[in-house]
């Protein structure tokens, strides 16, 4: 039985709750709450992506586009048309779902990595649209004036308030995804990963499940995009380029593709690297990512999530050597 323990989730939730308080006490990490908002936003994307890649075995190189769809729909509809931000979020997620179904359906019905190719092309097309539709998106200069979020007069106007809002959604998405993994749906996904002929002979509609997960991951990415837009109040196309899609894959590979926890760890580490610890590398940052990816594929095939297992095995060997 695939069980994902509840205790670590509770401990993690507790950590998330007290983190801003800790950050306030230590001046050196005072800005970490702000970075953690971005970690949360990116986690929304990688949680879905991890289900798609690690459990359904499909690769998407276009999730930056769904992230962008959410951000631009929220941005344009609230800033230019004054629509309700929460309604725009739902519109963004609906559009992302429809677009994902249209992109995913033809490529996921075929065997092999056609989704990777289709999403690569799709990502580039969407990026071009963000750049060229200047009237709507502001083009390469981006668009500003996106309002913040509020509910019933309560404004999410401080970093900490926004932090709790985003992480509330992250935890909900995390628990939802964990439930899916532990259900018959998750079992079907892992079956597809292991043997498509056997899965379909047992009555699993293989393409339906793949499309379903792809759509789910696109919806989460769009939600993340909306949060991003309302947090920064400004968006421009370069955030949603091909490199960001690849960065998402690096996050998942680093964390460990076959574990939902891996997505969280990888996202946290890569986000802190790029927002804080690697700032001095500037454009050489990409080299560091290359080294990380190389290091992970060679030494940690199960990513950070596989480290406890390696340590356990190493420790056991040491104990038996001493005997």
């Amino acid at each position: 039985m695939l069980r994902i323990a509840k205790l670590p989730i509770a401990i993690f939730a507790l950590f998330i709750i007290v983190f801003p308080w800790i950050a306030r006490q230590i001046p050196a990490i005072g800005n970490y709450t702000d970075i953690m908002v971005f970690v949360g936003i990116y986690c929304l994307i990688t949680i879905g992506l991890s289900l798609l890649m690690g459990y359904a075995g499909q690769i998407s190189i276009g999730h930056a586009a769904f992230f962008g769809i959410g951000a631009y729909i929220s941005g344009v509809l609230t800033a230019k048309y004054g629509m309700n931000a929460w309604a725009c979020m739902v519109i963004g997620m609906t559009v992302a779902a429809v677009v994902a179904a249209l992109v995913g359906a033809p490529s996921l019905k075929l065997k092999g990595h056609y989704l990777a190719m289709a999403t690569l092309a799709f990502g580039i097309i969407v990026f071009i649209i963000f750049n060229e539709e200047i009237e709507w998106t502001g083009g390469p200069d981006g668009m500003s004036g996106i309002p913040g979020l509020s509910i019933f007069g309560f404004e999410f106007d401080s970093v900490e308030r926004y932090y709790y809002l985003v992480w509330g959604f992250v935890l909900a998405a995390f628990v939802f995804t964990v439930n899916v993994i532990q259900s018959g749906t998750g079992r079907a996904l892992r079956a597809i990963h292991a043997s498509e002929p056997a899965a379909s002979a047992m009555g699993v509609n293989v393409s339906r499940f793949k499309i379903l997960v792809f759509v789910y991951s696109a919806v989460l990415a769009s939600l993340a995009g909306s949060f991003y837009a309302h947090y920064l109040n400004f968006i421009n196309p370069s955030t949603f380029d091909l490199f960001f899609s690849i960065k998402l894959l690096i996050m998942i590979a680093l964390g460990g593709m076959h574990s939902i926890w891996g997505a969280i760890m990888g996202t946290g580490l890569i986000t802190f690297l790029s927002y804080e610890w690697l700032r001095y590398f500037e454009e050489f940052e990409i080299i560091v990512y290359g080294v990380i990816l190389l290091f992970v594929t060679v030494l940690l095939p199960d990513g950070l999530a596989g480290v406890p297992k390696i340590v356990k095995g190493w420790f056991r060997r040491k104990v038996s050597d001493e005997r």
């Binding site: 039985m1 439930n179 259900s183 079992r187 899965a199 009555g203 699993v204």
Partner: protein, 259 residues
């Protein structure tokens, strides 16, 4: 006609399968009577596995019809055919190696218990209840195939004999009317073969119709009610085991046709 449906679970009419220029099955006609064990034998390359793939919907036949309980199914996809009540095993074991023994059988229950993505994500009581039912039903099957004490093991870790049994168990989990077993005794030793053939008999005794591809003649002759012999994609004989055994065309096909 309706009496025919009552009597026959499966009926193939004029089934042709060609791969490029190669005729894998040519104009095949046969019926499988309800509640029987029917074996399909023939030399390597006779088209036995192709036939299974057509029946279970891995690919459609080039021509002809396949009727299941009187209903044409040749155009349906594998998962739809599984939902109708045809289940199968594979010649080379196709277990889900990344899952435990019980999870493999639980996956076999897929067609019987539907849960939506939303319901499972929200862990609604109904989806939890279903999960419990699936587990109980899988345990029952594991007891039946004699693997209940290994339910937690990874499917990969089982010896081949038990992997073959587990595949049969997974196929049974959908409670099929017709189960297609592709060489269940291949690669098994004598004891394992005995276990496997007793299991097949037990499955049949519970009312499930069995279609069997097998090379082990001892197994075939012991458990089959009827035998169909294929050679180069054509039916060369069909009938009771003793008739087929003495059929000179069958002997020719197996011994190289020195007639």
């Amino acid at each position: 006609m309706s009496a025919d449906i009552e009597e026959n679970v499966l009926e193939l009419q004029g089934v042709v399968v060609t791969f490029g220029g190669l005729m894998a099955l040519s104009d095949l006609n046969f019926k499988v009577r309800r509640g029987t064990i029917k074996a399909i034998i023939g030399p390597n390359g006779a088209g036995k596995t192709t036939l299974f793939n057509v029946i279970t919907g891995s690919f459609p036949p080039t021509e002809g019809t396949v009727r299941f309980n009187g209903r044409p199914i040749q155009h349906l996809k594998a998962h739809n055919i599984a939902a109708l009540g045809i289940s199968r095993t594979f010649q080379t074991v196709e277990l889900f190696g990344n899952m435990t023994v019980i999870e493999n059988v639980m996956l076999g229950c897929h067609t019987r218990f539907r849960t939506s993505f939303m319901a499972s994500g929200l862990a609604l009581p109904q989806s939890r209840r279903k999960e419990k039912q699936i587990r109980e039903s899988a345990l029952k099957i594991l007891k039946f195939i004699g693997l209940a004490d290994k339910f937690k093991d990874s499917a990969d870790s089982l010896p081949l004999g038990e992997q073959k049994l587990l595949e049969i168990g997974r196929a049974l989990a959908s409670e099929p009317e017709l189960i297609c077993l592709d060489e269940p005794a291949a690669g098994l030793n004598e004891t394992e073969t005995y276990v496997a053939s007793s299991l097949i008999k037990a499955i049949n005794a519970k009312g499930t119709t069995v279609l069997l591809v097998e090379h082990d003649m001892k197994v075939v002759m012991n458990i089959s009610d009827e035998i169909l012999v294929l050679n180069y994609g054509q039916k060369i004989a069909e009938g009771l085991p003793e008739d087929v055994r003495n059929n000179h065309r069958v002997i020719d096909a197996y011994l190289g046709g020195v007639a």
